[in-house]
């Protein structure tokens, strides 16, 4: 399931729903991303997340389908927020349930790595009166490429 929303989400309830009523599930793996108040030496007052409505949903559905194609999974969940977010706020939640832990760990990592380099979101960091678009990191692209090149242990 994917959700692209402005409002916050309840981490515990969302993660619990991945195994609720399904006793085939042996493990659930979840990753949540939060807004930090410091980037390098710079203090961040708040952040605005922009996205491309339509393409975002399409892209997340594709990433989710690819995870199901690669691993035997029970359920997957991607929640990504947009709009104004304060330090400490939740930005993203990726969670996976599976019969065994290996698939859950790997698929969870895959989902967040792929999302970071493919889903059309852009972060604008605001400090005082200044705002600055965040620059994409090479390390994120490399993390995604490792899955494409197939040299990650599965």
């Amino acid at each position: 399931m994917i959700k692209v929303q402005q409002k916050d989400f309840n981490y515990s309830l969302e993660v619990a729903a991945l195994s609720e009523g399904n006793h085939d599930v042996g493990g659930v793996c979840a990753f949540s991303g939060l807004v930090r108040d410091l980037v390098g030496e710079k203090h961040i007052d708040y952040m605005t997340l922009e996205h491309y409505p339509g393409m975002t949903e399409k892209c997340l559905v594709e990433i989710e389908a690819e995870a199901h194609h690669r691993w035997p999974l029970e359920k997957t969940l991607i929640i990504h927020r947009y709009g104004r977010l304060e330090p400490g706020d939740q930005i993203v939640l990726v969670a996976v349930s599976s019969v065994h832990r290996e698939a859950a760990f790997d698929a969870c990592r895959f989902l967040i790595d792929f999302l970071k380099t493919n889903a059309p979101f852009w972060k604008l960091e605001c400090t005082g009166g200044d705002s600055k678009w965040v620059t994409a990191k090479d390390t994120d692209t490399q993390a995604c490429d490792r899955w494409l090149n197939g040299d990650k242990k599965e």
Binding site: G33, E50, Y52, V92, P120, F121, W122
Partner: protein
């Protein structure tokens, strides 16, 4: 054709989206970029370094050489920074 701009590409052009009539000799994204570059300083600034530009046609990531037609939706944006 509908064109959308996001993040600092939109800021530099000062426009979120626009409808254009595709010139006859423009058949790829790259040719569209060349045509847009001549539309004004904001466009020239946004498209000054094409290594920083990513493109989607009909909401799918594509390369600059991708073919385009009048009914396509084309979007220009910097590398994504979500998650």
């Amino acid at each position: 054709m509908k064109i959308l701009y996001f993040s600092w590409v939109r800021d530099r052009i000062d426009l979120g989206n626009e409808e254009i009539v595709l010139p006859e000799n423009v058949t790829t994204v790259e040719q569209l970029v060349n045509w847009l570059q001549s539309k004004g300083d904001g466009y020239a600034s946004a498209f000054a370094d094409l290594s920083m530009i990513r493109v989607a046609v009909n909401q799918e990531h594509v390369k600059l050489g991708h073919p385009i037609g009048e009914n396509d939706e084309v979007a220009f944006f910097p590398p994504v920074t979500g998650g």
